[in-house]
Amino acid sequence: MPPIIDEDKCTLCGNCVDICTEDVFFGSKKKQLPRVTYPHECVYCNACVEECPAEGAVRLRLPLPMMLMYKPAPTA
């Protein structure tokens, strides 16, 4: 479920918990792995990714209903 935290890369700094606009990480405890409590409220603003000091520790997975509609490129 979005967002996804990589346990091995996360430094437990809490930045994502502090800044998330929708408080998706509500209920997370200081110095512990962030808890993704309200994944359905994520707006894919990317703020947690931008404020994360550990590259790749948090990433977003877009839910299927939000996938873009696009035209495939013509095959050669």
Binding site: T21, D23, Y44, N46, A47, M67, L68, M69, Y70, K71
Partner: protein, 551 residues
Amino acid sequence: MTHIIMAGEQMEADVLVIGGGPAGLMAAIHAAESGAKVTLIDKANTVRSGSGATGNDHFRAYIPAFHGPDMEPVVKEVAKSQAGWTRPQSFVRTWMKTSFDIVKMWDDWGIPMKHEGRWEFSGHTFPGKPFTTLKYSGQSQKPILTKEAKKRGVKIVNRVTAFDLITDHGISGAIGVHGREDKIITFSAKAVVLCTGGCVRLYPGPTPGWMFNRADSPHTTGDGRAMAYRAGADLLNMEIPMRWAGPKYFAKCGKATWVGVLRDPRDKPVGPFVTKPDRIYGDPISDSYKGLFEDYMKTGKGPVYMDCRGISNEDYDYMMHYMKHEGLHGILHHFDEEGIDLRENPIEFMTYEMTTRGGIHYNEKGETSMPGLYAAGDEYFGGISAAATFGWIAGGKAAGFAFGRDAPSKNAGKESSEALKNLVREMRNRKDGPSWQEINVALNQVMSDYIGPTRSDTLVEAGTAHLLRIKEKARKDLVAKNQHELIHCLEVLNLLDVAEVIFAAIKERKETREKYIRVDHPYKNPAFDEKVLVCRKGPEGPLTEWKAIND
């Protein structure tokens, strides 16, 4: 079973700013610079909250070095734009006159307002018409504005949602609810600036059941409008609908950042303005025809695509750079994951759901109809430049007002804070009843079915009756299992108040004019020429009044 008790806390300031988007931060900065003691409260964290959280890239501005000494053509063009068409020209003139100062300030603080060292205008522009949107790199605007506010001594209180204004002996502050602790905070202040942003989550979004897939920030839920209304201030143009358009199904504003041609499925351009991707214009057809995408779908001619094929390498790099600054990272990331390449894949666009065009009636000084109460930004939609400019203006005026009055009495707000404590305590302790989601969905369906695109007296009548039933149940029965749910409960209570006002305003405006359509009154009523519809709280619900446009 634990019984939840709400703790209380008191804070004092000269100026209280509610909402820390660009409008609120600019208001706080100016008020603090003027010498006022300023507190700013935000529902989230000002570093990345609201609609400008991860950036914007178009800033309406008059830049003398670019436009020349005559500002009037720019004023006229902005007055016709989506951001200005419901505003008096005098308002737009003040906005444009001040905009350059704001641009210079932002540039000095480290928000890049120039493109490769020069002023660049592009997007939202019709060929042959004056340019009004300055291209800028706003990705870091929120962290930077937060830093500037702190530098000037602004006290920022994050994760507190204001719910009601204190109105004992004039505007005297506000009461807020903490989003992570069971705590109510009474903020006493000599002047208040409302900057809570837009009014999202009134109507169903693009994805059924997916409440937070929204073009604008879904935690901006008309709280300022509802607070102002409950305090007795005027709301304006609430009946006029507003709709955005953008990529489908990933809802996000920022249409003008896309450099392409809007085409039908057979590759025919749907508008007359551009035939190949051009970064200067984008495709302005969807600026003047917002319902385009929906109409093409309804008539079976759709879908309509944003087609960037044929874009030059230089314009492609430009577009990708600005998409990052426009806060479209989520979309960029999705391109990577799906292997979508804008140079090859046209992206379908859609018309997003409605909201209200209207909001708090604030004038070019940021004053509302109540002394001591100021408002700015998307409390009445104007985009990022209006937010920054009128935030700045309102903050200065609020400080001036605060200097001229004594601090509110120690007892101010006691009663309203007790009332809110009771309401909140009940929601937190109730075991059974509707969740905020139930109420929000019930509201969404009554909005779209009874005052959606089809509006008439009989629909308004039936819808109002149902809305009032939902509202009564919400106040009596809502359940909040934790503080996070509690904030959502307060949001839906606000949305219900705003909805009631919209129903009342639609009932009153029995005519069809520009973007406002009444199927049972399909004509313009000249009696309403040069007039606007104002709503305020009466003893039995919303009252409406027609006012001359410049009042």
